[in-house]
Amino acid sequence: MMITLKNTNFSYKNTPVFTDFTWQVQRGERWALLGPSGCGKTTLLYLLAGLRFPEEGELAIDGDMITRPRPETGLILQEYGLLPWATVEENVGLGARIHSFYGADGVHAPSHETHVTRNLSAWLERLGLENLSSKYPSQLSGGQRQRTAIARTLSLNPDLLLMDEPFSSLDALTRADLQNLTLELCSEENLTLIMVTHSIEEAVIMGRKILLLGNPPNKKPMIIDNPFAGKEGYRNSRDYTELCQNLRRQMEHA
């Protein structure tokens, strides 16, 4: 089991967001966390990232209780994740520099990590950034910035990728392009993916499984299977449209 949440409680500003919440994720699964704003989906992602901690209950990833950010977990946020004073190349290499700053101590960097000079140029190339490597984030488009963030995160060889509405400020074409790229990268790198989104369409494109959250407190997880996600042509299929409509109805009733 990759992720285990067992009887978890968490409140935000004295309002319970999760009460007695239990949820499990298998290795290699792709999940979309969907819900209206304020439902707790970002909170759940921050719990998984080790940036917030449950008040009660158990949260384990890969068998270990989470007490701080886990070195094998990658996190990509909607915006502002890049250092504005560093070039694309320096931003992509930031993780490697931080890891070599501490050494492979198992706390800040995975303990089995022996080599910190990763193949950064290969990652720049894979994300189509090779011609932008000396540019600063302010000189990039939103899509190029997220590509940089993805290259930075994946260059650390994570096994779990957490994304918080990573494409919501992008135009429709760029968004679709990066959604496809993310799906490709997830299968290339055998990643477990958890993506938070408020867009029904994005959840259906990205999530083989969809966790639907409602107004807090969330008690029982509502899980929708989406077996065809990631199949070619799924965007234009009837299954896709029907599931989107179905989810919209469920969200309106919740």
């Binding site: 940036l51 250092l83 504005p84 560093a86 890891h99």
Partner: protein
């Protein structure tokens, strides 16, 4: 601005000085043709060099001390909401006080020598750097901090890779804004209770020796000191903060 434009402007100012001094034709306004040779003579014969070095040392020591104390303090205040809430009103009150009025008090406390001058320059720069660095640290988006933490950064790496580079532009901006004031106040402190420094040199030549060309050479040296510091900060900013100059 291009180097050529700046050089042309400097030339223009000297030409203007030359023409007005020729027209006015008084001993209290010597022409640059007289002052510039005296400037080099005084500097290299050694009479002015010692004074110039004292002033330079005081300015640099004050700047360095201010950076070393204000930048970490600004970073700490910027990261801790409760400390910032506690100190904000104090800074709010102390920040706008013209530090030059404290010169007599500082002199009374620290007496003669370099130290009171360094303290004054330190006080002028300290609050400027503190406030700008603090605001810069507060303005860092939480998302950025969380992202870098997710790459494995703890407190030390955050400091090294985020807070330190983020405070650099703030320090340089603060220096650029207040280095002129610092040199001006340095001049005032050097006109009493000392026998060292360009302020003393100018004052001595103006009021006791009545050597106007030498006085002007001192004024020129003090101006060059201010300009030199300003240019250095500018140069550092262009080198270290390239990312801010991009549109």
């Amino acid at each position: 601005m291009k180097k050529r434009e700046v050089a042309l402007a400097a030339l223009g100012i000297f030409v203007f000085w030359q023409i007005s001094a020729t027209i006015i034709d008084k001993s209290i306004l010597p022409t640059p043709m007289v002052v510039v040779p005296v400037f080099f003579e005084e500097l290299f014969s050694g009479k002015m060099l010692g004074h110039a070095l004292s002033s330079l040392w005081r300015a640099l020591a004050g700047m360095l001390l201010a950076i070393l104390l204000a930048a970490p303090a600004g970073l700490v205040l910027g990261q801790s909401k409760s400390l910032n809430r506690f100190f904000s009103p104090v800074i709010y009150l102390l920040y706008p006080i013209p530090k030059v009025v404290l010169v007599p008090i500082v002199l009374l406390f620290f007496g003669v020598g370099d130290f009171p001058k360094i303290v004054i320059i330190f006080m002028i720069l300290f609050f400027q750097i503190l406030v700008l660095v603090r605001d810069q640290a507060v303005a860092l988006p939480t998302e950025l901090i969380e992202s870098v933490r997710s790459l494995g950064a703890g407190r030390r790496a955050l400091f090294r890779f985020v807070y330190l580079p983020a405070s650099l532009p703030a320090i340089l901006t603060a220096l650029r804004q207040s280095v002129g004031t610092a040199v001006a106040v340095l001049y005032i402190t050097e006109t009493f209770a000392t026998r060292q420094g360009l302020g003393y040199y100018i004052f001595l030549n103006a009021s006791t020796l009545l050597n106007y060309p030498a006085m002007y050479a001192g004024v020129l040296a003090m101006s060059l000191l201010g300009l030199g510091l300003y240019f250095s900060v500018d140069w550092l900013e262009r080198r270290l903060c390239k990312w801010q100059l991009i549109d």
